[in-house]
Symmetry: C2
Subunit: 358 residues, 2 copies
DNA sequence: TTGTATGCGTTATCAG
DNA sequence: CTGATAACGCATACAA
């Protein structure tokens, strides 16, 4: 590893001059020196030492990306296609902009804080954080920060949240189910805060707009990590006769249910309709293909980086709460029932079915 | 951000003493001073500046993880559940050992080299590298390096490869198909090098052990990225009558085929048996659930880090070519045909079917 | 037991 | 146009 000092000595000039050439400040250097320096730069394949640069610049060129995860989901977090795509998008955009990505996955906020401070990262992207987590981080880390999919209150300034139109997405798919004639629609989630709560709001509004009342018994709320248990699934299996459709808050749960039910003789969608949320790889791969609410995860990642870098450059973002649109993705897991079926079960509002492909 | 110097001044002592306390060299410091320093350390929540530390130690505590990807797969790489799980496992292990992970995803090797050198990473984990890539990287980067799933020749020393018993895995699943009475077994892959070639070898050996000849027409080799094209799928659809089973080199291709065929009226496994490779999320989620070859991706990631850190600590690894075992995962995508069917189609060798769950 | 001095590689200031 | 020189934060050899 050759250093600036090495090269300066070899050429018998000062480190300043070499540094100037490296940074393209050629107006301050004679043409001849520039050429000599550039030659040796090439020859020895000089690569700057970022640690040293960070020290003088007080900037690391690192974007920290911190994922808060449940303890039991530790290793598996990125098995979830959503997180996989997100991290891929973040990495691509961060590197395209000349920064480096350092990821921390932990359920221990103070560990995240330590890492972020120790590396003096120029900016921070936070995924899966709750309100309190964010407050704690912000109290120690002062650089620009972007949240992804958080529903933190707006008391704290100097942050941007990049999220999803959860309410509208849930509204759209519930409305679709209603148009297909469904009246007993179960709502399945594993919590009632943040995104899932907002989705619940959309679900409820759609019902109300159709003159339907929210019924307590249609709300199927489990604790995180418990839906996949055999006992939960069995319970859902017994109760599913009460509904004609399940609206699930994630593709994962939808697929889980669908397979459990199908393996036990229930036909989807003939006997029961099911919808998901996210438009994951899974929802495409499964048969019947899942009707779901789509989001552009790649765009979400790209936008998060874009906003963050703007803030790093000292530009105040125009928006503080960016919400990406959702899209109703109609596939094969919902069928028309009752009146809607008799009238031919045609698509409402001219929405078109997606052509099938993995 | 408080520094050692700040604290030394506040206490009226030297930076050396503070530094010693921080590093637990308390034998060299009086009990009283230790306490004073520790108090201020806590109070001001001191966090070391790694850039500065890297500079003096000539070690960054960073493990670089570089993924080589096809240009068109750029962003989507981690959508693949395999890479998702792998990166999760790597990150967890790296951090548990007190290091930091920096990821680079690129199809440009020189970019990867630049990044690795610029950060002076202590060790490097390489995924998806071809032989030439590895040679190039090694010519400039001298620190310990671990390959994952590479089939590079052994000329270069100072590296460990963590891979899979591809040959045995392919042998096992082909043998299983043979026992189930299949004779016309197509082999589907998108290349004929590295892992896929080794799998081909296993496939061939199983046929030979059953006294069967490899037939040219049973080899379905496409170019990378072309299998998913409509034209390729159509071709496979037309040709599939010639076979009773497809052995695919990845779960992804198996699921792709299965859905394409099923959507066109072919029943799986009644009309056609299909097997995959990897035991991905997808293979579990799909119906019929996929019979496949399983591997422990999390363990693979953990082992890679383990070997790398050993080398960083100056310990010569006991093995240079670690191959993790595979496991035959029997689910529902293969049925018994011919004689095997008549004799009841029972499982060979007492292998048991896995109970179904997502 | 504690302190001084030096160097790691880079950049920036300022004087020549 | 060029070059000393100091500074970033930390660790360590050596001196006291």
């Amino acid at each position: 590893m050759i250093t600036i000092k090495d090269m300066a000595e070899m050429l018998g000039i000062s480190t300043t001059t070499v540094s100037n050439v490296i940074h393209g400040k050629t107006s301050e250097v004679s043409q001849k020196t520039v050429e000599r320096v550039e030659k040796i730069l090439e020859e020895y394949e000089y690569v700057p030492n970022i640690s040293a640069r960070s020290l003088t610049q007080n900037s690391s060129k690192i974007i920290g990306v911190a994922f808060k995860c449940r303890k039991d989901k530790y290793i598996n977090l990125f098995t979830d296609p959503f997180f996989g795509e997100l991290i891929g998008a973040l990495e691509a955009e961060i590197r395209a902009r000349g920064y480096f990505m350092m990821t921390y996955t932990s359920n221990d906020i103070s560990e995240i804080i330590r890492n972020v401070l120790t590396w003096n990262v120029d900016g921070l992207i936070l995924v899966g954080m709750l309100h309190d987590d964010f407050i704690r981080i912000k109290s120690r880390y002062k650089n620009p920060t972007v949240l992804i999919d958080s529903y933190a209150p707006r008391e704290i300034m100097n942050y941007v949240n990049v999220g999803l139109e959860d309410e509208e997405g849930a509204y759209a798919i519930t409305r679709y189910l209603l148009k297909m004639g469904h009246r007993k629609i179960a709502f399945l989630a594993d919590n009632m805060e943040g995104a899932d709560y907002t989705r619940y709001l959309g679900y409820q509004r759609a019902l109300a707009d159709s003159g339907l009342e929210m019924e307590e018994e249609n709300l199927l709320i489990f604790h995180p990590g418990t839906v996949e248990r055999e006992s939960s699934l069995r319970e859902l299996y017994y109760r599913c006769k009460n509904y004609t459709a399940f609206m699930c808050c994630s593709d994962y749960y939808a697929v889980l249910l669908m397979n459990y039910f199908m393996d036990r003789g229930i036909r989807i969608p003939e006997d029961l309709s099911i919808t998901g949320f996210d438009n994951n790889l899974m929802s495409r791969v499964v048969r019947p293909a899942l009707t779901t609410v789509g989001q552009d995860v790649t765009k979400k990642g790209r936008l998060a980086v874009e906003y963050l870098l703007k803030m790093i450059d000292g530009i105040e973002p125009a928006e503080w709460d960016v919400k990406l649109p959702t899209e109703l993705v109609i596939r094969d897991s919902v069928r028309a029932v009752g009146q809607a079926a008799e009238s031919g079960g045609e698509m409402p509002d001219g929405e078109e079915r997606e052509s099938r492909a993995v």
